[in-house]
Symmetry: C2
Subunit: 347 residues, 2 copies
DNA sequence: TTGTAGGCGTTATCAC
DNA sequence: GTGATAACGCCTACAA
């Protein structure tokens, strides 16, 4: 019971292939009789046109390539769900490629997909790519006429549509919230500078302090090495933060650029016998499961990942269907939202 | 700067298409001279064969279709990462389709992919599909010669390769652990019966009690309605569990069939002033982030999702490449592992 | 050593 | 109203 094709239908009903094709698209060129006969037959044996053949003919695959650094990651996962939603609504499929934060895997994955498998990319670049600043694969892709939409970790060097979280503003609002809650010595736990979003969030932190005339204390900025993000270094992470908190006993508020850092900060505070939120208030970035279920539950800056994914897919599909690959390009900023929970409660 | 094709190279170098094709596959039919010339040209302009054309010709797409109920879900996400790893190693791409636990979305998604876009499926069926027991889409797919590998939520009614977690045994080990830790009145928080894994885990729970001659108390089994799994019902969930715990004050151990239920049980216990693990020990199923970062950290049954995904991809690719679609089919059981943390510590 | 022709499944154009 | 033909990009058996 192999797949049915136009050819087989044609042979079976003793008509030509093109007659079948036309009949199935309900063309008025074909007599009502033959049309109905062919349609009935096709329906009975559940004929479906072969996507691959259509792709070859139309030079459109109706599938989007999504390249993300990691899939076991709540934020990216929400973005993908948003992409998938819009893609599906508009008849597109979604192929996922994982870079694992590696430059070469990102390149290989894109190469694999760029050769006809997809119509366009939605990508959040790997950390290593940001570090190396080697963007040849992105340039080549665009030069070949394949549109790219970047999200979250975007590159100013690349001319394409972008969807970003309002990182700086989200961080600013978070830090202002800490200040309003009475914190005066606010620390930040962030990533190394090459991670664009880490840098932006740090910028927002600094802006908020400046705005309220709180002097910036360099020592209050803790930049954590990339290696500490590995799963097996959970304990190590908390220890590093504990040391930092001990070295700066005045700190009464922490803004962390992600959930894990925030939770680790809470754990570290617990080691030191500090009560949260009484002695130390904490705000994280990325509103995932962890924040919701933590004890105390964690106040976070929600990024609306799903919405972000929807916008990215929308942007890409619009560009594809309008067949308009030239500038101007759009950058959509998705607003963040402060979700207040127990870790910043006032007494 | 459009994509380069054999045709264009042929015209450019004034040879025939087949010469180019042969030269690029380094065929000895072609003289060393022309071969080198063509290869150099192709390399210079970065020629890549078009995947779609290859797929059409070879009737192989080298891509796997993965259908899962949800992507914002740690377990499925780890499985996908395992699938992606093996797929990539063997030159396959991965298309993701989300069913959102809906029967019709599952059918639509599979239909969309089954028409040539992929070579085979890896699927964990939607809750609604298990409930409806309508498997026509799966049967049709298999009848058309497209192999399926089912994982986690598998159906005995379908003849295909399967990869499952050792649910019953994992549950049994967990409950035995509770008993050994001194619990005598052990409750279970589980799903409705139509969820296959919920049922299996409940079976393991009952087996463990029987094994240790602890009488089964029907009232100790709390079956939670599907609706309570929705995000917005977090608080509701904890309340239902709190009522249950209050109604059965003797309970000193809880086995929950997933992370959320386990965490909600801990929250409920906290409402009631019960100390964990002193008054109540808790074990969950699914070793995700939440368990690791909970306070107290949660003892769980780890399912090794990534390994499971790797096995599933391996099974599918093997079957595809051996071009052997007939029985016998294989069922691989991935062992679970009890990860002991604070929620079951003895005093 | 190189080139021609046919076919994978589809649709569109043009001829009958 | 129906059918033959070409084309999408590739590969390969078979000529030349």
């Amino acid at each position: 019971m192999q797949k049915l094709t136009l050819k087989k239908i044609a042979k079976e009903l003793d008509v030509s292939i093109s007659t079948v094709s036309k009949a199935l698209s309900d063309s008025h060129e074909i007599s009502k009789d033959t049309r109905q006969k062919i349609q009935a037959f096709a329906k009975l044996y559940n004929y479906r046109p072969n996507n691959i053949a259509l792709s070859l003919k139309n030079k459109k695959t109706k599938t989007l390539g999504v390249i993300i650094p990691e899939i076991v990651h709540h934020f990216f996962t929400t973005v993908v769900s948003g992409i998938e939603k819009v893609a599906n609504e508009r008849g597109y499929n979604v192929i996922i490629g994982l870079s694992n934060e590696s430059f070469s895997k990102e390149v290989i994955n894109m190469d694999m997909l760029a050769n006809g498998s997809i119509d366009g990319f939605i990508i959040s670049v790997a950390r290593e790519t940001q570090l190396k600043k080697d963007f040849h694969h992105l340039h080549e892709t665009i030069n070949q006429g394949m549109p790219i939409v970047m999200f979250d970790r975007v590159l100013p060097e690349i001319a394409c549509d972008k969807v970003v979280v309002d990182d700086a503003e989200g961080a600013r609002k978070a830090v202002l919230n800490l200040i309003d809650a009475g914190c005066r010595n606010i620390g930040i736990i962030t990533t190394e500078d090459h991670v664009s979003v880490g840098k932006l969030r740090t910028g927002g932190y600094e802006a908020a302090l400046k705005e309220r005339n709180i002097p910036l204390d360099e020592g209050f900025e803790l930049k954590l090495k990339d290696e500490l993000n590995e799963e097996e270094n959970i304990e190590e992470l908390a220890k590093v933060i504990a040391t930092y908190l001990k070295d700066h006993p005045a700190i009464d508020g922490i803004f962390a650029v992600n959930e894990i850092y925030a939770l680790s900060a809470m754990k570290a505070a617990r080691y030191l016998g500090k009560h949260i939120p009484k002695d130390l208030k904490v705000i994280g970035f990325t509103d995932g499961m962890l924040s919701k279920y933590a004890t105390p539950s964690l106040t976070t800056v929600s990024q609306h990942g799903k919405l972000l994914g929807e916008k990215a897919a929308f942007l890409l599909i619009e560009r594809l269907e309008k067949d308009h690959l030239e500038p101007p390009f759009e950058t959509i900023i998705v607003e963040t939202e402060l979700v207040e929970r127990e870790s910043t409660k006032q007494f």
